[in-house]
Subunit: 271 residues, 2 copies
């Protein structure tokens, strides 16, 4: 059974294998990318990465986070395009402001969009966990801004997700009550990132969302800067946080000579 | 010149040397403790640790943080008793609630208390930086709650402090305007810790204080829990943060075989 997945480009770069795929979920095309350590076999953690509005499944910070997780921790990582994003729309219409506006309109008027994206993520997870090299390993979520708008309901709905990085979003907009309900249903460990001067989701709305998250094991990290000005430190912390709960390996094979323990785990065992 | 310092107990434990001292600053006794790696010579970073109200210079988390900094990073660390705390008061009156109340009353009515403590810290720094094994190395501050009430003005006033961990405190109480002015004068990198359910300094007051801190390089980390329920994670982050700006060594000598780079630095160089 291949669940209607078509494997497209397949390449390797510095120990990380990258595979483009199209998943057919009930006639809906779900375009995605999978990253694994080269020659990965057996079972290993998989982190799903949600990109931001006007971006796509392979934008710079998604790509670099995926590679970092594969190289430093031996994890698999995958991303799919958001609604009306990336390969879900015609290249001719790929003006980023138009995409942003299109998504904002959808979010305001179409509750189904969220449910469809949650189903896309569940189908992606089902499909990828059948692969040798991933299997039924632990699952993590990383997604900020639109990656939290869509990730919050997914993490709330999917018990396989064991740890999540969320943020750059607040209790705001037309789906306030759903956001709060989804947040309350989250129970896994959460790192929630806030930009102190966020102009899209003012910090008070982000604090309200963090407050609503049901997990006992949660923390909020805030830094000065606007919505889009996330620091390198936030990416380092994301990596360390995911690795703390999903790692360290070694996984069955395919990890690199340079594979390190998570910084958290190193701190713990080194003390 | 010994600046009126008397060295008292001197002991070693698992690679960390601990020295009790009394500093005479213009007739005022300043009781302190210094921790260094055993046989430290040359120059190394020194972290001043401010304890919390009703505690003392050698309470559990001060001691464990000092030992951790010495063992993992080769740093020196020192703490002095706060006003009306520890060896500054008669043992017979050492009921912790009474000490807490006494301090709260002093803070409400005695601006000089803060200036005297700042002067005590400056004198401590002057004295300890004359020692072989410390010298004119980098200086860090770690102090929460009362350790921020007194640390904020010290860090604001002392240009030798290059990095600070502050928190568990807000813009509140009778010295609001001084707190804000001191915060604005801080320019070094800051990690600011918040307990989400702080019953002594509600988080809104902590957010106001973080906002007022003048440093461009600052971050706020918040976790669920009451004022006194700081997590182990907060101590790990404190250590990693201080080490990121003060380390890594190796320092001239006296670091241990188990000496590691800071987790931050390891992440940076290992990538």
């Amino acid at each position: 059974m291949n669940l209607g997945v078509r494997w497209l480009d397949d390449s390797d770069s510095q120990g990380v294998r990258e595979r483009r795929f199209d998943l057919d979920r009930e006639g809906r095309n779900v375009p995605g990318v999978l990253w694994t350590p080269t020659d990965a076999t057996g079972t290993r953690p998989l982190v799903l990465l949600g990109h931001g509005a006007s971006g796509n499944k392979r934008q710079d910070y998604v790509l670099s986070t995926a590679r970092r997780l594969a190289r430093h921790h031996g994890f698999a990582a995958a991303a799919i395009d958001g609604p009306v994003h990336g390969d879900r729309r015609s290249p001719a219409a790929a003006d980023s402001q138009a995409v942003f506006l299109h998504f904002a309109q959808l979010w305001s008027s179409d509750e189904e969009m969220t449910d469809e994206m949650v189903a896309d993520y569940v189908a992606t997870l089902d499909t990828l966990q059948l692969l040798d090299g991933i299997g039924a390993g632990e699952v993590g979520w990383w997604g900020l801004s639109m990656g939290t708008i869509l990730g919050l309901p997914f993490v709330a709905a999917e018990p396989r997700v064991r740890v999540a990085v969320l943020g750059l979003m607040g209790v705001a907009g037309p789906t306030r009550s759903r956001i709060q309900a989804d947040a309350r249903n989250i129970t896994c460990p959460v790192l929630f990132l806030v930009q102190w001067d966020d102009e899209l989701f003012p910090r008070s709305t982000a604090f309200e969302l963090f407050d609503a998250i049901g997990s006992k094991d949660k923390r909020l990290h805030a830094s000065p800067g606007s919505h889009g000005a996330l620091s390198e430190e936030a990416f380092e912390e994301s990596e360390g946080f995911l690795a703390r709960y999903l790692g360290p390996g070694p996984w069955t094979s395919g990890t690199l000579p340079g594979h390190r323990m998570s910084t958290r785990a190193a701190t713990r065992t080194g003390r």
